[in-house]
């Protein structure tokens, strides 16, 4: 085969005569047969692609160009290179290489495990049974304390049993009874298409992760009734999602709850919440909210948006340890009671401020709306978000205040860097331990950035910029009496107002309420 083979004209190849194909005297019939098979791509009757195969195969050999395609090659420049396979995925055939024996190839793992294949079964099973390994891993991930239970080398008692066991995902987790029960309730509701999820009085300290998420996809089941069908047999299949978390010991609400965009009724009555997160603004469909009997001192300002522009019709806020407006510090009263204007007195008493306008006949429009009663003084915060006292700031930390302008509106470099940090991919995966490795001054900021990232970012209520560290905060007192009664009745004439404190944040010292005459 090493001897000279002139470039064969295509016609000849088509003949495929064994005597012509091999010029070497030593070539056996078998080898020439093999060769003929290799050349079978030139065969018209071949089942391979019908596109032109001829010129392509030897383009890279200069002597085999088109001009001397039919001429015999004179020098030892080489033989035509032969290819195997299709023209787009061709492989050069090494003529010296013998065809690999079938038995040699057979050593490759086929990936099919058969019961009779003893060697595979022995090599896999003893220590690292697939299901046991999975369980082990799960324990390691979810409960780091339980890792010591199954040392790597120890053969598990079940290891020689059938290797494919269904993975018990939540089995074996040290989950409290309450969480298990709560999960069972949620699963039951999902199963039955029940849109009222009652998780009341479960003694939950926190909402376990993954508990409420499936409720996003809750679907009601159509009610099947015997004929004759009445009108009210046809009801909407749109779930009227209600979640009752009352009577637990929740201290925080996690973001999963606020991902339920269809949530209509939410009750967190009788818990230990000290704050309602601003992410409640995501619950755009919310109609009834009960936050009573908690440890709230203020409500998020974003909740007010739900009252004014959203669907929220029924807010139950009392009792909660809200500060009373009589004791609170007020910078600006926003109402001009008609009575005081008539009297011409510039000074109005607190009672006048807290009394609704007197009217006769049908209630005016603002008898239904929320009323901005007052605004508290603004608390300015330093670059780390800690409140600074305006009065003593110039004495205690003279350098903390920028020298030239009193209200810098440009964000601090910390803030800018934190905004960039918030956009980093993978911030959610950073663990507490990793954050603790940061310098002590930076670590709290990183915690905050991670928290805000998890909540989906927060926007300044004044300038709509996304921000991380609030620089100003103040309370706005709004009266929501009609909403507290479920929009059933308007304010009566001269009714005493009972405003609620809503906390509002600004992203810079320039982001403060525009008060004309403070």
């Amino acid at each position: 085969m090493d001897s000279e083979v002139p470039l064969p004209p295509p016609r000849r190849i088509r003949h495929r005569s064994p005597a012509r194909a091999g010029t070497s005297p030593s070539s056996s019939i078998a080898s020439s047969f093999r060769k003929a098979r290799r050349l079978s791509r030139f065969d018209d009757r071949s089942s391979q692609p019908s596109s032109d195969p001829a010129l392509f195969s030897s383009d890279d050999i200069p002597a085999s160009g088109l001009e001397n395609y039919n001429a015999p090659v004179t020098g030892g420049a080489g033989r035509k290179r032969r290819y195997r396979g299709t023209w787009w995925g061709e492989q050069v055939i090494d003529p010296k290489r013998k065809r690999a024996d079938f038995k040699e190839k057979r050593q490759v793992d086929s990936g099919v495990w058969m019961g009779s294949d003893e060697s595979t079964a022995e090599s896999l099973l003893p220590s690292e049974d697939a299901s046991a390994w999975g369980e082990d891993l799960l324990k390691t991930v979810l409960d780091p304390k339980a890792t010591g239970k199954y040392p790597q080398g120890l053969a598990l008692p079940k290891a020689t049993a059938a290797p494919v066991l269904p993975l018990p995902i939540w089995k074996g987790l040290h989950e409290s009874e309450q969480h298990k029960f709560a999960r069972a309730v949620v699963n039951d509701c999902l199963e039955k298409g029940e849109d009222s999820i009652d998780l009341g009085n479960f003694d939950l300290r926190e909402i376990p992760p993954g508990l409420l998420q499936p409720l996003q996809h809750l679907t009601k089941l159509p009610s099947v009734k015997e004929a004759p069908l009445s009108e009210n047999a046809y009801s909407s299949l749109q779930p009227f999602l209600r979640v009752y978390l009352s009577g637990n010991s929740l201290t925080t609400l996690n973001n999963e709850l606020f991902e339920l965009g269809d949530l209509k009724v939410l009750s967190v009555r009788n818990n230990k919440l000290s704050e309602i997160p601003y992410t409640i603004q995501k619950l755009a469909a919310l109609e009834v909210l009960n936050v009573s009997v908690n440890l709230l001192t203020h409500l998020p300002w974003e909740l007010l948006r739900l009252l004014q522009h959203g669907e929220l019709k029924h807010l139950t806020a009392f009792p909660n340890p809200f500060p009373s407006i009589e004791e609170g510090e007020i910078t600006k009263w926003h109402r001009q009671p008609r009575k005081s204007q008539e009297n011409g007195k510039p000074e109005t008493s607190l009672e006048d401020q807290l009394r609704f306008d007197e009217y006769e006949g049908s209630p005016p429009k603002n008898a239904w709306a929320t009323i901005h009663v007052a605004t508290s003084p603004i608390t300015r915060r330093d670059m780390e978000g800690n409140p600074i006292d305006d009065g003593s700031a110039s004495v205690v930390t003279p350098v903390a205040l920028p020298p030239s302008s009193s209200t810098p509106s440009a964000p601090s470099l910390r803030e800018l860097a934190l905004r960039a940090v918030c956009k980093l991919p993978g911030l959610e995966q950073v663990t507490d331990d990793e954050l603790d490795d940061f310098p002590s001054l930076v670590a709290p900021l990183m915690y905050q950035a991670r928290k805000i990232r998890a909540a989906g970012g927060q926007r300044c209520s004044v300038c709509q910029h996304e921000y991380v560290v609030p620089r100003t905060s103040w309370l706005e007192w709004w009266d929501c009496t009609p909403h507290e009664s479920g929009m059933k009745r308007p304010r009566t004439s001269g009714e005493k107002l009972r405003p609620l404190p809503f906390q509002r944040h600004g992203c810079s010292w320039a982001c403060v309420p525009r008060l004309q005459n403070i």
Binding site: S405, S409, R414, A420
Partner: protein
């Protein structure tokens, strides 16, 4: 060597890059302002040259960019965000902590 009343100051990074910028701009940073305070009698205040041993040239360049950004948008109502490359944001956060800006 500039004297303490010079209008410009020099910030030097740990790898030797020097940035010369107006004194008022550099004094946005609390740390630099204290360094350059004429009453403090620090050597930085006398020479007008601050060597910031903890900052590399790349970070200090971004910090200087921030100083001018801050100067420009000081009294503006709607401030656009400065562009911070993600690979620098952690180092800049540390630098901001150090420089008190």
């Amino acid at each position: 060597m500039a004297d303490s009343t010079s209008e410009y100051v020099t910030l030097v990074s740990c790898d030797g890059f020097e940035f010369i910028l107006p004194r008022s701009t550099a004094c946005i940073s609390g740390t630099i302002r204290r360094m350059l305070d004429p009453a403090s009698k620090f050597s930085e205040a006398l020479t007008g040259r601050c060597v910031l041993e903890t900052l590399t040239g790349v970070v200090l360049e971004k910090v200087c960019e921030y100083f001018f950004y801050n100067e420009k948008h000081k009294d503006q109502a709607n401030v656009p965000d400065m562009d911070i490359p993600p690979e620098l944001c952690l180092e800049l956060l540390m630098a901001a902590d150090y420089l008190d800006t």
